[in-house]
Symmetry: C2
Subunit: 576 residues, 2 copies
């Protein structure tokens, strides 16, 4: 199966043909469920609670599959991962005790542009007379709404039947257009109310300023055509806006090498001959860093200029050498263009690729990264993170989704070569510990025929790892690799000195199958043990596998070592 086969019809396309059937007789809750399906949402994550039970009862009768989680923040992470893979995701929880438990997950979705629809119940409008102290209430009835105004791109309280349908349309369209989370609160006595106003969904497509678009494309084409060594850095927005085919077409036809960022890893399949690797400042391979920074025309396409993406600001790029195109900004050298939509710019650029052909480019401008040739087992050696990743790399195929937690799990996993697109997930900007395990649940629900592999540190696992319960419940063949160095390893490494606060309580992670009643646990200390465990885990599709890999406290990835080295050279430099 080619990687293209696994990309579903993207919701942007589906949105063009929303359900145009009559909405007469639909309740507010039923209309919301229908519109979620228009955006390709087939599954939803959450936990029931009294203020949202009326909506849960509607969901139960609908085609949408509700995946119950152990806790709300995990449901939020799962919905985020589902949105990254599926195009849009949703989470449904009760008022305040549920909603306010989602703040961190939804903040992460905001920061990394993942369109998650937060749906929450609230006390009925008819219960609010005289401002009673209903349970779950914080300061007043609007507290939760006000908090999510800070964490979402749009939101609405569906308290008025006359406007509820329009508000649902507006909020969902905003999620689709901006790829950010949105918030919908339904007072429980509004769920089954049938509005008495006629309603038709009207799709309003945002448009670019035609003259600005033309000027920008012309300027970019002229520059790239005359550049000596152009290079593309493909960022995560290429995936979010469904522009991966266009970027590949542009690179192939104009013969431009492509790098990616950590957050955008796997946006372009890493086995592509023009792919040169991750650009991540001092953390990355030196050849890639040099290749990019020596370029006279760097096309940063949908790339967030975050500190992590830039190797904690060890990157060295000047605006005078860059075309910087994101959904928020388009800048070519010192020229800023306004009202140019990212998809329009990328598509037009791709259509002009023949005008930019650069004959000097090599098919594979950089050699393959070292160390990932044929993996030769050193059976009795203690397992270390670099060799573990090298061995794991051999196991990946086009049906694997890699999910890395943050810290050295992420840094190490960036060395993996993914085989398709959208197959590497990580919160590489917001860097919230504990994303990976619940995200694996979301990924497995979105792609039940694939296998998620989680690379997670012990500290992160202790935060959300018990969401493995839901993976066990659904029988997904997820493989979880716990990098167990008995503490917060990245902090130990970047902040010198022994600090007791970086040590955590040791768990026998491999015994969790006994608690969860299914799955298989492995405990490994040597390369041979890891090799055997990974082989067995891969062969086993009966349920999850968890491999607890005991690492030395001083072990770390090449990327982390490079970063620490670079930072130590900075006089008085901040160590992140």
């Amino acid at each position: 199966m080619s990687s293209a086969d696994i990309i579903p019809v993207r919701p942007e396309m589906r949105r063009e043909t929303p359900s145009t059937a009559s909405v007469a007789g639909l309740s507010i809750g039923s209309y919301l469920i229908r519109r979620l399906q228009d955006y390709g949402i087939r599954d939803l994550f959450g936990i029931p609670g009294d203020y949202v039970l009326a909506f849960y009862n509607l969901l139960e009768e609908s085609p949408i599959n509700v995946v119950g989680c152990t806790r709300e923040d995990c449901a939020g992470f799962a919905a985020d991962a589902y949105a990254r893979i599926n195009g849009m995701g949703a989470v449904c929880v009760t008022y305040c005790v549920g909603g306010l438990s989602l703040c961190n997950s939804i903040a992460g979705a905001y920061a990394e542009k993942s369109p998650v629809v937060v749906i929450t119940g609230s006390p009925g409008m008819n219960e609010r007379t005289n401002n009673p102290l209903l349970h779950h209430r914080v300061r007043d009835f609007r507290t939760q709404l006000e908090v999510f105004e800070k964490l979402c791109i749009a939101g609405a309280e569906l308290s008025d039947p006359d406007t509820a349908f329009r508000e649902i349309d507006r909020v969902l369209d905003t999620a689709a257009n901006f790829k950010r989370p949105v918030y919908l609160e339904i007072p429980r006595d509004m769920v089954n109310v049938v509005p008495q106003v006629p309603h038709t969904y009207r799709h309003v497509e945002p448009t670019s300023d035609a003259a600005a678009l033309e000027a920008a494309v012309n300027e970019a084409v002229d520059w790239v055509a005359s550049a000596k060594r152009p290079v593309i850095i493909a960022g995560v927005e290429m995936h979010r806006f469904g522009l991966q085919d266009e970027v590949i077409a542009l690179a192939e036809r104009a013969k431009i090498p492509v790098a990616a960022t950590m957050l955008g890893k796997s946006v372009v399949r890493e086995t592509h001959p023009q792919y040169i690797g991750l650009y991540e400042g001092a953390m990355g391979r030196q050849e890639v860093t040099k290749f990019v920074e020596d370029s006279d025309c760097v096309l940063l396409l949908g790339t967030f200029m975050t500190d992590i993406n830039l190797g904690i600001f060890t990157a060295n790029l000047s605006p005078t050498q860059c075309i910087y195109a994101t959904s928020e900004k388009l800048r070519i050298r010192q020229h800023h263009f306004q009202e140019v939509l990212l998809p329009d710019f990328i598509r037009q650029l791709a259509s002009r690729a023949d005008d930019m052909v650069n004959p000097s480019v090599q098919a594979r401008p950089l050699p393959e990264p070292p160390g990932f040739g044929k993996f030769v087992l050193q059976p009795d050696e203690p397992i270390g993170i670099r060799r573990l990743i090298a061995r794991l790399n051999e196991q990946l195929d086009e049906e694997t989704i890699v999910i890395a937690d943050i810290g050295d799990s992420l840094f190490a996993a960036t060395e993996l070569v993914t085989h398709g697109r959208s197959e590497f997930l990580s919160p590489a900007y917001y860097t919230s510990m504990g994303f990976s395990l619940p995200a694996a649940l979301g990924a497995q629900v979105a792609r039940s025929y694939m296998r998620a592999v989680v690379v997670v540190g012990d500290g992160a696992f202790q935060m959300t790892g018990m969401e493995l319960s839901t993976i066990a419940r659904h029988g997904f063949p997820t493989v979880v690799i716990v990098l167990d160095n008995k503490g917060y390893g990245t902090e130990r490494f970047l902040h010198h000195g022994q600090h007791a606060y970086n040590d955590i309580h040791p768990w026998n992670y491999h015994k969790l199958p006994e608690v969860l009643g299914s799955g298989t646990g492995y405990e490994v200390r040597t390369e041979a043990e890891f090799d055997a465990a990974l082989t067995a885990a891969w062969a086993d599709t009966s349920g999850f596998s968890l491999i607890q890999a005991h690492l030395a406290k001083t072990d770390c990835s090449l990327a982390l070592e490079r970063l620490a080295e670079k930072l130590s050279k900075r006089v008085g430099g901040k160590t992140h």
Copy 2:
């Protein structure tokens, strides 16, 4: 040991004598640490992270004991429980990924008036030039601050050395005065800055309007003296404001019977001869409900009139029969008094107790609750929640702290008779599932010589139960009773019909000691097994004990049964 012995010097008293030593040379971080100690904070809960490491390093060298938790929301619950027992608590986490994970715990502390100090790091002021995309950032650098403005009573960003000390004083005093959480954010480059301005802490005591206070007290005294059957309902604010001695003195000298609310349970020790039980509308014992509602003068002292406290509004009290005194409001019948502080009112009322003596009162106006006489084991009977609570009740002593999670754990546990004061903790208003386990950690840290007993449902345990890891790490002899009915039992009971979303994945909770490397697990199905497990757990002080009690899905407490019965009688009534 009498119950009075275990009440420490309360922070209100300690605050009167803050450290008046010179602050010259103290950094912002060091001043904060010193002021936390002035408020009696000896321990603090949290998780390190890069933006807060500078402050963590100061904490490490300070007398304050930092208790690392598995996740931030658990640290928040632990700090909340610590604050409820100790008078004030604190939690310290990193920026956004840490802080925003606290939203729900802190919202609960706000709703139930628990003074928790939230301390968080943030990017340095010198890193914010040009608005860079630093990791953990959401919308802009103020997102987290703006969210906590909704969830705290006061907050400050300590970004200005000239005002930092005054801001710390203002914010901590507000927590002490209003018993609500507060927020302090320290940019990481401010922690070690030494302000060059002189500073002296000035304690400003809020004062009552003397005339209003006198009028209110006179009116109350006259009414109580002439009433036929006065009764006190002692609420949780009596504990928060350290007024338990005054309430007891008032009740004893004026010979007034005392009831409590669910949230205020154990504010007055339940073995006191004048104590008549919990008043909770239809959920409570009928004799108590009748006794209170038949009273011609109900003194609601520090009682929140919440839906749960009122048995989901099944209570039947009219303002014309009430004196309603809280920190926010003082109302005697239809007379509202303004600017009368709760402590002043209660103390003056207590000092006038002799003027209110009511000769008609009996020593114990109501019989003891039924069923809690001598517990006679029925060894082969399946264990049910009512008999489990009855057996547990025999085991309680003055060194036990009972912590109930929400749902039927709470409803059932309210039947327990606590032996001292402040020995029953539960989020009985905000009702956030998963409070109990991390709260037990907070309680054990605050009272290391006592034993916390947790009563928790399986759904709640799956949310936060792994904080047991930290209890294991510290070797606390906590006893955890998991009421395992394989789902969200209270929802099943109050919302009729079989809904799959109320079922959860079954865990072998009793095998968690194998994962955590210490503790003892028990699995019980009969009364004999529960009896043996509880006896063994009580005898074992080497670590935690976890008793997994398999319950029938249809099992429920008497209180929940009473509530469901009452609600079913309401025509068209909402079932919460």
